[in-house]
Amino acid sequence: MDTKNLNYAFEIFEGMQLENLNYIYRGNFSQSITDNILLLTESNLNSTKENSKIRKRVYSIMVEGLQNITRHQEENAQDFSEQPGIFVIQKNGNNYFITTGNIIENIKIPIVQKLLEKINGLEQDQLKDYYKEVLMAGEFSNKGGAGLGLIEMARKSGNKLSYEFKKLNDKLSYFYLHSGISFIDEELKQIEDEIQDSLKHIITLHDILNTHNIVISFNGAFNQESLVLLLSIIEGQSVSSATTKKKLFYLMVEMLQNIVKHAINYSNTLESGNPGMFLISEDKGNYNLISGNYIEKSKVQELQQKIDQVNNISEDELEHFYNKNLLDFEMIDSKKSGLGIIDLRIKSNHKIKYHFNDIDSDTSFFTIQVTVN
C-alpha cells in the first residue's frame, strides 16, 4: 500500500493541531458558504469552555473578515478563480487567530497600506473616535465607510492588525489580513509577537494548500452538528456534476460519522465531539476526501485487515460482503454497522488509501483517503 502521498495530510494535521479549533476554507465565498462557515465556527466555539464575551469578540472579527473577502471577490471577479480566497481560524491556548486572504490589484496596495498604518497608529480610545468619523463621512458619500470593518477588527481584537502583501505578478498580489485576540482572566492581552509568528505560519500553510489544491480543511470537534454544517458547505460548492456532488456527499457522511462514532477523544480537550481532521482536495476533477482521527492502537490491526480486504476483493465479492453485513442485525450497537468501509469502497470505485501514525503506547492516528471522479 502506497501511503507516501498521504503523509502531507498528517503533516498538516500535526502542524495545525494547536488546540481544539482549526478551520480553513479556500475557494469561492458565496453567501451560503459564508453563513455556514460562521455557523460551524460558532458551534465549535460553543463546544469549548470559552465564555460568551470572548466568543462574541472572535465572532465579530470573523464576520468582518469574511465580509472583506466577499467584497474583494466581487471587485476582482475575473481574477480570483486562479487564486481563491482563504479564511482561517485557529485557536492556540488563550489565543485566537483569524486570517483572511484575497487577491488585490497592486495599484490599490498603497491605499490599503495607508489605511492599515493609520489604524495601527491609533490607540483604543482613538479608534473609537476614528470609527465615528468614518461612519459620519460614509453618510455623505458611497465611498465612505471603507475601512470601518478594519477599524472594528482592530477594536475587537485589542491588537494591531497584522498584514502581508505577497506579489503574484505585475498586476496582482495576495493580501493577508491577520488578527489575533488573547485573554488572561477575561481581560484582553496584547500578543504582537505571537501574531507575527502565526501569520508566517499561515502563509507557509497556504502554500501547502495551494500545492495540493485543498479546498476545505477542518480540525475541530466532530459531532453530528458540525457534520451537518460541513455537508452544507459541500452543497454550496460548484462541483463538475450533480452525480459527483452526490457521491461526495455520501462519502463525507460516512467518513465524518466514522469520526463521530469511532474516534477517541484523545487528551480530552473537547467537551462535545471528537478531535479529528477532514480535508478535501481537488485535482483535475478528481476529489480526494481525507479524514483523520485518533484510535486505540489495539484496533489498528483489525481495521487494517478490513480495509485490505475490501480493497482486494472483486466487485461481486464486495456486493456479497455488503449484503451480508446489511442483513446482519446481530451487532446490537448501531455504532458498529460495519458497512461504512465497504460502502466507501463501492461508492468511490477506488481503492481506499490509509495510513497509521504512532502517537503513544495506546494511541494511533488513522488517516483515510477516498477518491471520487
Binding site: 452525480t243 460516512e254 463521530v260 442483513l327 461504512g340
Partner: protein, 123 residues
Amino acid sequence: MDSLIIEATEDTPNVILSQSENKFLISDRSLPENSIEFYLPILNWLEKYSVNPNPVTHFEFKLEYFNTSSAKQIAKVLLMLEKVSKVSDVLVKWYYSKDDKDILASGSRYEKLINIKFQLIEI
C-alpha cells in the same frame, strides 16, 4: 390505530405512517447519529400494523440520501413489510432521481434481498 408523523430535519427523514389515509412514506434525508433509536418507533408502528393491516399497502421511499447505518434500519423496515405482505397486498415504491445511480442501486439491492413486490420509479 394512531398515525406516526415525523417531520424531516437536516439529518432525519420525513415519516408518514397512516392507516386511516392508507399512506406510508419515508422521504428526504436519513443520516441520524443514532439510526436504531430513530427507526425504532417506525418498526414498532409497523409491528402493530401487521396485526390488522389494510388490504393494500403501498409503501413509498423517496429518499434523497441515506447513510449506511440507516441502510440497515431500512432493511429492517422492509423485512417487517415482508411480514405484512402475508396478510396485505404490499408494494414498495422506491423512487430515485435520474442522476442518482446510488439510490437506484440501493433499491435494486433491496429488491433482490427481500421477498416483496418492488417498483423502482424514476422521478
